[in-house]
Each structure stands twice: as C-alpha cells, then as structure tokens.
C-alpha cells in the first residue's frame, strides 16, 4: 500500500488530510515542518509527499529543492497563494503536481493516484521526470505555461486535452501509442475521455503543430494500432 507523508504547519489541516488519506487506502503520516519531515524520511520510506508551500522556518520551495537532490519521491505541492507564479516556481523546483488551497480531498486523492501511476510508468524506461520545457523540430513545449512556441516564435496556447495529449506524446517519442494507452495516460482526474475525443484532440493538435514551413506531420497515424510522435525530443 502506498504511504504518504503530509507536511503542513496547520495542525488541523494536516490531521484531517492524513486521516482522510488513510481511510482511502493511502496510509499517511502528518508532520508540521521540514525538520520533522527529514526525520520521518530517515526513519521510514514513503511513496509520495504532500508538501505545503508556506512553512515556518525552511519553506516548502526550499524543501522541495532539497527533496529533489536527495530522492525521487514524488511531491505534490499545496499552496494557499494559488497564484500562477507560485505554481510555475513549484513545478520548476521539481514538484510533480500542484494543488491550490482550499482543495477537495477527493481531488487530492486523484492527484496522488495520478502521480503514483506516473511514478510506476516511469520505471519502464521513460524519462524520470518530465522536464518543463521540451524541444522538438524547432518547437518548444512549455508545460508549466501550457503552451507551444512555434519555430517562428509565436505562442500557441493549448487546451487541457491537447496539453495532456502532447505531454504523453513528448514523454514517449517514437513509440506507437494505442488509443487505449493514450486514454489511460492522457486522462485527467475529472474528464471523460473517449476514443472519439482522442481522435478529435489529435487532429486539433496536428493543426496547431502545422508550421509555416510545412514540415512533415509530427503525429503519425499507425493504421490499426494508434498514433506515433515522430520527432527527436530534447529537454
């Protein structure tokens, strides 16, 4: 059973979160600050850390950075600031996901499960942590900003489904991905994705990836099997 470590300076919040997670099959330990977190990590092993951004003493961002250099445990950042920049900074410093307070506990559980799923998927050879800016064929994919930069430097915003789809493609370049596996990998916590909507999202994404120079199709259809992202990805 995956074990969680909850770090939040508010005693009631961390107790409520830890109790809820435990009830939903994610046994959790709650601690109040970064020092306690380190102590707990030395004693036991955890599969995911839920970390508040604003903590007394050493704050969450610094803790996240420290965690990234010392382990590969997935981190979900919680923040009461909820602004765009703290989200970007959190993800840049190595958090795997970000949740703004006040959050729904159901949402937290869904995010934890998604992060754990990704961590398992990562063991089969894919890059350990998706980097925030990826490049392919002159395009830039900025994940934290959910946008593409075309080879002629135009910002192209992506919808949520296009973003998820492209993330999946970029994480698995030059591999045939069946519709089923795309559905599985590109699914968000609250969305209802069908085969048909995957095809639709692919065609829209193709439209956005068509640049002025008319280069070859980046997303190829593999008949009877699915789709293949045909580009060398660097990050």
């Amino acid at each position: 059973m995956p074990r969680c470590l909850v770090v939040d300076d508010d005693s009631e919040i961390r107790t409520l979160v830890a109790d809820y997670l435990t009830r939903f099959g994610l046994p959790a330990v709650a601690v109040a600050d970064v020092a306690e977190m380190r102590g707990e990590l030395e004693r036991e092993s955890f599969d995911v850390i839920v970390l508040d951004l604003m903590l007394p003493g050493e704050d969450g961002l610094a803790a996240c950075q420290w965690l990234r250099t010392h382990s590969s445990i997935p981190v979900i950042m919680l923040s009461a600031r909820g602004d765009f920049m703290s989200r970007v900074i959190g993800l840049e410093l190595g958090a795997d996901d970000y949740l703004a307070k006040p959050f729904e506990l159901r949402e937290l559980v869904a995010r934890i499960n998604a992060v754990l799923r990704r961590a398992v998927a990562n063991t089969d050879g894919a890059p350990q942590r998706p980097s925030l800016v990826t490049e392919f064929n002159g395009w830039k994919f900025e994940r934290s900003l959910r946008q593409l930069i075309s080879p002629d430097e135009v910002v192209i915003p992506l919808s949520t489904s296009e973003y998820r789809l492209l993330s999946t493609f970029v994480d698995h370049p030059r591999r045939v991905l069946s519709r089923d596996s795309l559905l599985d990998l590109a699914k968000g916590p609250h969305t209802d994705v069908t085969d048909r909507s995957i095809d639709l999202a692919v065609s829209r994404l193709r439209q956005k990836l068509r640049d002025s120079r008319g280069t070859a199709q980046l997303i190829r259809t593999v008949r009877g099997e699915g789709y293949l992202f045909d580009a060398a990805v660097t990050s």
Binding site: D10, E12, I13, L16, V17, D19, Y20, M54, A80, R81, G82, D83, F84, K101, P102, F103, E104, L105, L145, Q147, S150, E153, V154, V155, I156, P157, L158, S159, T160, S161, E162, T191, R204, K208
Partner: protein, 359 residues
C-alpha cells in the same frame, strides 16, 4: 556665487533672445549695406518713423535707410517689409530652437509619466543630471514620487499575499471539516459558499497582481488561444460556437487569455448562445464574444466596466460575480495596447470586442 552661474531657464532664454536680436541685426545689416553698397552708412544713424515699427523696440537701432531723396532706392515700404521679413525669420528660428529646449524635458516627463502609468518600476525614469535647474528639480520630484508609488504598490501586494494566505488557511480547514461530515444539502451549500469566497479572493488578487505582473510580450496565436479556451469550456459542459481566421497578435499570452476567459464567463453566465469570433482588420486583431442575453441598457454600458459595479447585485451573487471581471479585462487590454468595447447587438444580446495589436 554658484547660484549666479547656475543653468536656469531664465538664463537660457535670455541668452537665446539676446543672440537672436544680435543675429537679426547682423543679417539685416549685411542684407542692406553689404549687398546694397549704394546705401550710405550715415543712414544707419538716422531714426525714421518707419524704424520704430512694432517689431523693433526702442533699443534696436534702425537699419532702414530713410532718405526719400535717393530715387534709385526702393520705396521705404519695401525696405520695411524686407527688414521685417528678416527679423521674423531670425526670431522665428530662435523661437523654434527655444521651443525645442523647453519642450524636450516636458516630453521626457510625459514619456516617464506614461511608463509609470502602465507599470510602476523601481528604476528612476528621468535623468536628474540633464537640463536646466528647473528641469532637474522636476526630475528629482518626479523620481521621488515614482519611488514612493512603487513602494506603496509593493507593500500592497505583500499585504494581499498575506491576507489571501491567512484567509485561505481557515477556508481550507472549514472545507476539510465539512468533508468529514456525512453528505447533506446544507453542506453542499456551505461548499458553494466556500467556492464563492475563494473565487472572490482569486479575482481580487488577480486584479491587484496585474499591476506588478511582468509577463513578457510575445507574438500570440489568438485563434489558437480562443479555440483552446472554447474547448476547455465545452469540456466543462458549456456549448459555445466558435469561428475565426488565423490571427497573431502582440501581447502577454496569459493576460490575453484572462481577458477572453472573463468575457466568455460573462457570456455563459448572463447570456444565451455564447459565441466567439476571431477576425483581422488592418493592423488589429479582434476577438468578439457574443451572446443573445438581455444585454445591458445603453446608458449603463460605461458603468459596467467600473470596478465592483454590478448590474443586478441580487442576481449576480449566486453566479459568483465580483463586479471586477470587465474592469480587469479593460485594464489588461490597455496594458497590451488593446481595447475593450461593449455594445448591444441588433436583435438582442451583448457584444464584447477585444481589439489587439496585430503582429
């Protein structure tokens, strides 16, 4: 003593006028005496009534020859006209130079004020070591004002970040406590209230944060932006029509997205048949958000853009309106070199038009 040699506006103007006067005399002298050698030097000293014209004060020695006895000379009227033309030219040139002197610091001040008006910055905007004493003093005062404004903005942002944190923590606690209770219609309503409070916090913070937001300006595909937004809202269960042409504008991507998203939220909340259209005309890109709702009475179209103004407070409360949406759109649009226009559509409903600079 230093005051005596200080570079003041008075001294600059005095020297300029003095130089203009001397120059006009010299040019006049050369024009009439050197190029017309038949005029005797004695004529210089004579004071004629014609010389005391409105252009030449009593201090000016007359240049006009005034001996009507010499038949070969042009008429005194022609002399007068020629002399006045030369003086007008020289004085005009001097006035032009003087105006440049005077208006240059004013232009710098205007530029600095414009920059300050759009984004407060910590770097002093005007050079305090250039220009006359008066100009330097104005620059110093302006820079000090700018510094104070910037400090105040920074303090306010800090304060707001703190408030939002301190309000969101108890909100989180309430939310979590509610979640540990068995489901109940009353609890659902509490959730709705929490969401409303949080949405208000979000909007206010966004509104106040925009001032200090330094998102770089880039070329943005507005067609893709509008289409992504429509798609996300469609996924959330709204039905929105979309139509457009490829269009690239110059601006801040996240700000433009926020603009369009606020307009579309309004159309979805208050109107029917929401629709987004992207078009291009000359140097502008237009994103129109249309609906078939009740529209807004013509005499209140200006008011709805004002902060915290609500058309029908009772109705808007339940839909989470804060009265800031349109105001934020206008502020952001203007900062991006764009505009927000709101009008009623023929046949009912509202049209909100966001115009942007084409790239």
């Amino acid at each position: 003593m230093s005051r005596l040699f200080a570079d003041t506006l008075f001294k600059r103007l005095f020297v300029l006028m003095w130089l203009a006067l001397i120059a006009s005399h010299f040019i006049g002298y050369f024009a009439f005496h050197v190029s017309a050698p038949f005029v005797s030097a004695a004529n210089d000293q004579s004071q004629s009534s014609a010389a005391a014209g409105p252009g030449a004060g009593p201090a000016l020695p007359a240049l006009r020859p005034s001996s009507p006895a010499q038949d070969e000379l042009p008429s005194p009227l022609a002399w007068l006209a020629g002399d006045y033309a030369i003086r007008a030219l020289v004085i005009g040139l001097a006035a032009w130079l003087g105006a440049m002197w005077l208006s240059k610091p004013m232009r710098r001040l205007a530029d600095a004020a414009r920059i300050l008006g759009t984004s407060p910055s910590a770097v002093p905007l005007i050079d305090e070591t250039r220009g006359t004493q008066e100009v330097r003093q104005t620059a110093r005062i302006f820079n000090r004002m700018q510094q104070r404004l910037t400090e105040r903005f920074a303090a306010r942002s800090m304060f707001l970040a703190a408030v939002s944190h301190d309000l969101r923590t108890p909100l989180t606690r309430i939310r979590l406590r509610l979640e540990s209770l068995p489901s109940d219609p009353l609890i659902e309503r509490c959730y709705a209230d929490i969401n409303e409070m949080n949405a208000l916090l979000d909007t206010i913070l966004v509104y106040l944060r925009e001032e200090s937001d330094a998102e770089p300006r880039q070329r943005v595909d507005i067609y893709a932006l509008a289409q992504s937004l429509v798609e996300d809202m469609t996924e959330a269960g709204h039905s929105i029509a979309f139509d457009g042409v490829p269009a690239v504008a110059y601006g801040q991507p996240k700000s433009l997205l926020r603009c369009l998203s606020n307009l579309l939220d309004n159309a979805v909340h208050y109107g029917k048949e929401p629709e987004v259209r992207v078009s291009v005309e000359g140097g502008r890109v237009f994103a129109d958000v249309l609906d078939r709702g009740p529209g807004i009475p013509d005499n209140r179209l200006e008011q709805v853009i004002k902060p915290f103004f609500r058309l029908e407070p009772s109705r808007n409360r339940n839909s989470g309106g804060t009265g800031l949406g349109l105001h934020i759109v206008r502020e952001l649009a203007e900062r991006n070199g764009g505009q927000l226009e709101i009008s009623n559509r023929p046949g009912g409903g509202l049209r909100a038009r966001l115009s942007m600079t084409r790239s």
